[in-house]
């Protein structure tokens, strides 16, 4: 990798980061919230890019990891007084990691389309459980809870404002991005990419492909769970709709629109999708999915690389 391309990448990275840091200070209330939300959905999409873009497995079950992150955080925030931010993270991540282990163990036995269908059905299992287990999950009504304070025990404790919440989310997403980027460039990430390119050959060289796939699904599920915890903290409610497979579908739409295998592409895709939704729902209300769906199909046919696909090589350097 050349020094110049490297410098270009970090300049771009810092520029975008700076824009996102300043964003809440200049944007009106509504758009402030909107940008925060884009970051959270972007993190979810980025987590699934590990599977779609780098390992070549399309997961239709990310709503399960995301939803369990939300419900895990909800449990922590409802059971402990006063609500503790870090406990919410712990519960959410443990819940989504447990689900990810379960799903990974079964679904990685299958490839391609079968993997997609199996993950889809697994996410529906969790949806049915959450929907019908009213005593614990609140069933159809979901759970509402209050937002914890941003606190480090013994040091300080501040209630979240919309500014600090945005910066907090931005910090988590940025750290996640850098971690995932580092992972994709590590030897482990290289093995994942070689599974994508040629699974049989990777196995023949001697890598335990199944084990790598299980770890990839778990890693992806863990970051999806992280997105779920952030979403719980931002919106202060959990609902079974977040576990429904349409959320997984949206995650895939973000990936395809933004460009898979780039990590930042999915965030751009989430931004693009949410902007389209915002624009179309102004005059089509809930039927915005008709034009958005058509745009999505057109992008699959005419622009399979997505918005940022042309930068793929550069972003992975």
């Amino acid at each position: 990798m050349s020094k110049r391309a490297d410098g270009l990448y970090w300049t771009g990275f810092l520029l975008v980061l700076a824009l996102l840091i300043v964003a809440p200070l200049v944007l009106p209330e509504f758009w402030q919230r909107f940008v925060t939300e884009i970051l959270i959905w972007g993190l979810l999409a980025m987590s699934s890019d590990i599977l779609i873009g780098y390992t070549g497995m399309v997961s239709f079950g990310h709503s399960a990891f995301f939803g369990l992150g939300i419900y895990g955080a909800a449990t922590a925030l409802l059971s402990v007084r006063p609500p503790n931010l870090w406990l919410a993270f712990a519960y959410g991540l443990i819940a989504s990691a447990a689900v990810a282990l379960f799903v990974a163990y079964f679904s990685t036995r299958l490839r391609d389309i079968y993997f997609a269908i199996t993950t889809l059905i697994f996410s529906q299992i969790f949806y049915v459980i959450i929907f019908t287990w009213t005593a614990v999950t609140g069933g159809e009504n979901g759970l509402t809870f209050s937002r914890p304070a941003l606190a480090i025990p013994g040091l300080f404790s501040l209630p979240f404002t919309s500014y600090t919440l945005h910066w907090f989310v931005l910090a988590v997403v940025t750290v996640s991005y850098l971690t995932l980027r580092r992972i994709t460039q590590s030897p482990f990430g290289m093995v994942l990419q070689s599974i994508r390119e040629n699974e049989a050959r990777t196995r023949a060289i001697g890598y335990a492909v199944e084990r790598y796939k299980i770890v990839a699904v778990m890693l992806s599920g863990l970051f999806a769970g992280l997105a779920g915890v952030l979403y719980a903290i931002q919106n202060r409610f959990a609902a079974p709709d977040f576990v429904y497979f349409l959320v997984s579908g949206e995650t895939i739409i973000f990936n395809v629109m933004g460009g898979i295998g780039t990590l930042v592409g999915p965030i751009a895709g989430a931004a693009f999708y949410l902007l389209l939704r915002e624009a179309f729902s102004r005059f089509l209300t809930e039927y915005y999915l008709i034009p958005v769906g058509i745009i999505f199909i057109a992008m699959i046919i005419f622009m399979p690389q997505g918005l940022l696909g042309f930068m793929r090589r550069r972003l992975n350097q």
Binding site: V58, F106, S107, R109, L110, D112, I113, Y114, A116, I117, T118, L120, I121, F122, Q124, I125, V128, I129, F131, T132, G249, I252, I253, V256, E286, Y287, L289, I290, V292, G293, I294, F296, I297, I300, I301, P304
Partner: protein, 298 residues
Amino acid sequence: MELVTEVLHAIPYDQILIQTLNGIVAGMILALVASGLTLIFGIMDVVNFAHGELFMLGAYVGVVIIAATGNFWLALIVATVVVAALGAALQITTLRPLLGRDPLTTILATFGLSLVLQNYALWQFGPVARKIQEPFTGSFSIFYLQYPWYRVLIAVLSAAIIGGFWLFLKYGTYGIWIRATTQDRVMAQAMGIPVPWVHTAVFAIGAGMAAASGVLFAPLVGVTHAMGLDWVLKAFIVVVVGGMGNLGGSIAASIFISLIESYASIWLDPAQAVIVSFVVLILTLLFRPTGLFVPTPK
């Protein structure tokens, strides 16, 4: 001994009989939906996520035709033809350009289609469930319950459609074209079979079958824009359990899973009975990842 007789008395025979009937009826409808899905997959490697929406649109076309003419059978035929034509149009516009690309792109494209179709139905017909009247209301009695003849007719009609289609595949000239394309796309093309049009025709046939099952099933539950989702998920389970692209396997798996769900609903809430079929799927994946109803691969 006493324990045995007690257990034997505790078994609800009447309910089991009725649930067996219900299971077979639901299984035949599911088989009609799933055979279209598995056919489309077997021939062009397309996992049709929009299949449930074709089922739902079929039911809505049925509602419209019945409102206009009052004739259920006319509605069944018109819905099948209209949705088959729609299927052909969708295949030409969205799936044909994807031919030769990774099969995973087709699952994404048809997922997009399903979003569009579902919201179109919501927009056009509104969120209130529509009702289709049963074409006749006779019933026969088993134990203390009246069992409607219409349900029996659904099972028979579905079996007839699947059977007719199987005969067509086996003996019809175009049926042989379809089987040839399944076996070897390139060779079929070389023999002068218009492969792209075979694809379109198969998609249309699958869509028509989904629409027919939608109309047949609508009197039992009512028609809503979201009715297709349950069915496409169930059909996915069926094609995985039955072995993807395997027509006989999907039919066997449809009846198997519907029966199990029916029996489970004697003791469980219907919403939870779905979990039983998920469990069947997990067990299948553990022990027979290629499908329950296919010969053991070498």
